[in-house]
């Protein structure tokens, strides 16, 4: 477990985002137990209160559930994970499109660029 924390942004948010991405790509499969608050706090070297807040936020998204005395588990509702994966991908696209449009790229140029990059990538 590794966390790169940027102290200029809310730390709990970065922990939430890390787990969301990891759950979306199946690093933590449905039903899997997540590390404890203390373990995450130790790995990220942050206050356990901050991790507790991140876990509450994750629970609110429906991606994880906490069972009293047992720990926090990834949801078994595959639909929720699929939606989250989609949502995360969309956020990445919106961010990318914003930046690339700022450079004055048109939709056609963007499509051409994506096709070119895809080709280069496959070679």
């Amino acid at each position: 477990m590794r966390f790169d924390i940027d102290e200029r942004q809310p730390i709990y948010r970065q922990i939430v985002d890390t787990f969301v991405r990891q759950i979306a790509r199946g690093h933590w499969p449905p039903g899997e137990k997540l590390p404890s608050i203390r373990e995450v706090a130790a790995a990220a070297r942050v206050n356990p209160n901050t991790v507790a807040r991140a876990f509450q936020e994750l629970e609110r998204t429906g991606l994880v559930e906490t069972r009293r005395g047992e720990g926090t588990f990834v949801t078994t509702a595959r639909e929720a994970i699929k939606n989250c994966r989609e949502k995360t991908a969309r956020e990445i696209w919106v961010d990318f499109l914003g930046k690339i449009r700022e450079l004055g790229f048109t939709n056609e140029e963007i499509q051409r660029l994506v096709a070119e990059l895809k080709e280069e990538n496959e070679q």
Binding site: I5, E7, R8, Q9, P10, I11, Y12, R13, R38, A41, A42, A44, R45, V46, N47, P48, N49, T50, R53
Partner: protein
Amino acid sequence: MTFPAVKLEKVVKRYPLTKALDGVSLTVDQGKVVGLLGHNGSGKTTLMKIIAGLKNPTSGEVRVFGMAPGVETKKRVAYLPEVNTYYNWMTIDELLNFVKAFHPDLNLEKAALLKTFMNLKGGEKIGSLSKGQQARLKLVVGLSRQADLMLLDEPLAGIDPPSRARVLHALVGEFRQEGQTILISTHEVKEAEPIFDHVVFLREGRKVLEGEAETLRAETGHSMEELFGEVLE
């Protein structure tokens, strides 16, 4: 009703030539880790001593768990001064037993774990310890007490930079008593900032900025270290 761990109302501490504190109001909620940040001479130590009941304010009101500082609050508060106050002729274990005579809440089992963590041997004489080892010993003594409020004045002073993050994490993590409130004064913000729930910036005896660390990050896009530079330089 639960009281805040600390509540200060317009606290002033005047010395013949200076004002160490110039009207500080502050509330510290129970269970929080609070950073008291400021340069040397900003009033951090005076503030801690007033909360610990070792100094009286010139004016203003101080409440610790809802009570005026005194015998009752001292049972619940552990204050670790920056300076070393131990006898050089004692060994580490002798010191722990000595402190336990004054503070029955000192937990010797926890002290044993902390000694191992800090790489200290019980039979060593305090006078023969290095500055860094003395700084670690101070933390062993303080953290072994079952205090509801822990006041740590510059706990990183004397601790070598590579171990600081590890020591700080032990403070708020594995060695922290459930629900304990911790007030840490420091000017080494970089290493300490990920452990703070709340920060208070002091300058020349006045509070210049305070807030939840996460809220300040979201609102300003700055780390606590950057804010320290901005509001205190």
